[in-house]
Amino acid sequence: MKHKWAMAIDMDRCTGCGACVVACVAENNTPTAGEEEAGKGRLMQWLRVSRFWKKEGEETRAIFVPTPCMHCEKAPCEIVCPVYATYHDEDDHLNAMVYNRCIGTRYCANNCPYSVRVFNWWPAKWEKPLDEQLNPDLSVRSRGVMEKCTYCIQRIRRGKETAIKEGRKIRDGEVMPACAQTCPPGAIIFGDLLDPESEISRTVKDTRLFKLMEHLGTEPSTVYLKKQKGPGR
């Protein structure tokens, strides 16, 4: 069963609250860096909410751009990996990582225009009993490997397994990454583009659609919907 998972982030709904960031950390066994390591730019979060200032003076506004992995169709990170640790998953159209193949050259991070890959500088430590909370559905990555947002691949796998067991297709909305599930204003839409009836397939037809750094031709699967102006649609 083939899928093309995609995410749309509605900038008109996103409030910048950061619930997605903590939901991602909780779901994906992402270690906390601590103040000192964070100061060296080693925050391990797979999803960040970038804040941009718009204009100076009276018109100043802040704009929030939640930035997970873009899961590019033509991913710049994949072609530079010397050991094929990051590859394109043909079945799900995901930009996936094989952690135990990664040798930590960090070429992928260097080549990612969106700066969404993080490197494991230290072996992650979970002081007891904090380790009890670790998600049993995915591994704890070791030192020296790159990691990144996977669209919660463990949830996609589980959804596929359940669907196969029950002999049916995956329903729209059945598979949901942690960030999309928790997002209070419902700004994150996730689904299968190969399902023409899905919400994501409807969403990508919106005229407000845009992609980050579209001129680079990376063909990201994570797309955005512009903020709207004024009342009425």
């Binding site: 910048g16 804040r51 802040a62 209070p184 009425g232």
Partner: protein
Amino acid sequence: MKRRDFLKLGGATAFAALFGGCDNLPKKLVPFVIPPENYTLGESLWYASVCRQCPAGCGIVVRVSEGRAKKIEGNPLHPVNSGKLCARGQAGLQALYHPERLGRPLKLSGPRGSGKFTETSWEDALSILMTGLKKIRAEAPGSLLMLAEPMRGHRNLVVHRFLRAFGAPAPVAWDPFGHDALLAANEDVFGIRDIPEYDIANARYLLSFSGDFLETWLSPVHYGRAYGRMRQERPTVRGKFVHFGPRLSMTAANADVFLPIAPGTEGFAALGIAHVMVREKLTPSPAASSLWTAGLRQMTPETVGEKTGLRPSDIEAVAREFAGNQPGLAIAGDGAAGCTNGTFHFSAAALLNVLAGNLGKPGGLSFPDRRSAFPRAGADASTLAPLPESGFASVRNTLEKMRGGAFQVALLSGETNPAFTLPAGLKFPESLLSVPLVVSFSSFLDETSSLSDLVLPVPTYLEEWGDDIAPAGHSGDAVGLLQPVIEPFRDARPMPDILIAAAKELGGPVAAALPWKNFRECLEQGYTGMGVNLENARREGGIFSRKGSLSRTAKRAGNPPLPKAIEASYEGDAARYPLVLHVYPSIALSDGRGANLSWLQEMPDPISTAVWRNWVEVHPKTAESLGIADGDGVVVTSPFGSMEAFAVLHPAVAKGTAAMPLGQGHTRYGRNAAGRGGNPFSLLPVKDTAGAKSHARQSTRVSIAKARIKGKLVRTVNVEGQWKYENIL
């Protein structure tokens, strides 16, 4: 998730009953020879409960695998949050598994307040408590004090009944972000002293006066969801949002129009809008003609413009749009509530709702009766669904009595941390140290529990039975139910259970007032008495009405008085302290209770993008005149104290204002929290808001001077250099 799937996932309450509860518990992971039917290794079960990370009362479902909680999600059936959850709710697991959580009772082993404790047995700890209680029970029952966070549901009922039967005064509750100003204003304007239900989702036009409803105010997840629906859920309407305030907060950043105003002038901006609406006859409200008094007539856009710094044309434009786009809403929030004239700001915003005719309409505001959830509770209904007040006035009185020696035994409970959140001028630590016996029910050693003689470890909300009624987000009768989703992780006992056991030992009227075997039985009797099928209710996470709105009619909505315009006042000489201090609750740490969780410490602040630290925001022009650059260490001084912080240049904070997030600056409360800069609460004066008697947080001036301080402010990697805003949108 579909409702049916959800029921399937949650269908294992019998298992929860085996694991949960408050009696002696099996201590092994899988103690069954023959496991229960629905228990399979490797598969997860989901249990519904209620979040207690803030007072909003959202419903949660917790994934439990092999007896351990693994993930918290929103409960899709709960009307407050409909399956959504904020960052703090997501971080609840870290409170459960915190390495520094107390697992044994602690007895003081040094001088009081030293923070030196040794572990002791429950028998020993409870005998100390009982000796203290028995002693004063005979001589002076009125000298027992209970200080807690505002509690709801049967937990509050147990505490109230215990104290009443004991002969002690009612419990004193303290929440630094209580809604006193909102309650007082609604009483003045509508004749109802309660929290309204704001239907933001269906509004076409939303006016906010420092109402940071997307961050920490009232029910952030509920209003966050409503905001998303207001923007994009309707086929032809996109609600417009206009924000007035002294600081571009995260909420303000989401507004279509952000109109910066001088601190403490929110109410004047609202009256300016009311003036235009009445003058131009833009309102059908019968109240309009009687309101056209000298007071409102002088609030011309020009006068208001001078006071607030707004352009008169902006006031007129907003007034016309607000009147012309119905249904609309005007709300005021935390930033305005803390001013000395906080009640005036809320009254003026409420007046706009009257003028626009927003009361009782979809897309407007209504007043559900939360006591209707407990139809048979009688007089107890007010303890099951109490008003969300801050309790500042009673804390103040109590501390005075405490210093006079009125209390022999003090019981401290809950998430409230008065030693951290009360202004230093109230001398909380000194007052508490004058009480001979202080017993804390607490999961962590924070500033307050460190001042006690005895600390009794309590379970977290994920290991407890309980119930909760949310202050906002439902039509009045939705009750959330808590159940232990896992076996209690530490040797902790719930506070209501300890009180019930103590009552039994005290005997007489106290035992008669709390006739239950344990707290679980108290809950079950309460709800089965109301005809509730508890098994089903626990599976769904609560009792959710499908009856629709139960809104009350406002007594005075037709003819409200014009709120009296009061100026905000500030402590401190303007020459010595040139900046007005604007403090706001941190979205991650709230009043500081989240500061011990590393996930929340490491969640970048939406505006400053800082992690792990405190900062002070100043306008670039103000900073320039003070010789301060972005990231510099500074000392912030008010007439009441001083603290270190890092400067953050914020291009949209009012000039002449210093804005600071609250929540950081702990001296205790564990490794993650302690020693991260100063505590902004320590800069605040002891001052009331007029008419509401809550703490006036926004009422002091400060000075800022450059200083050498340790470390640097850590912010998330900023890719702004690579990405121009123009390329983003």
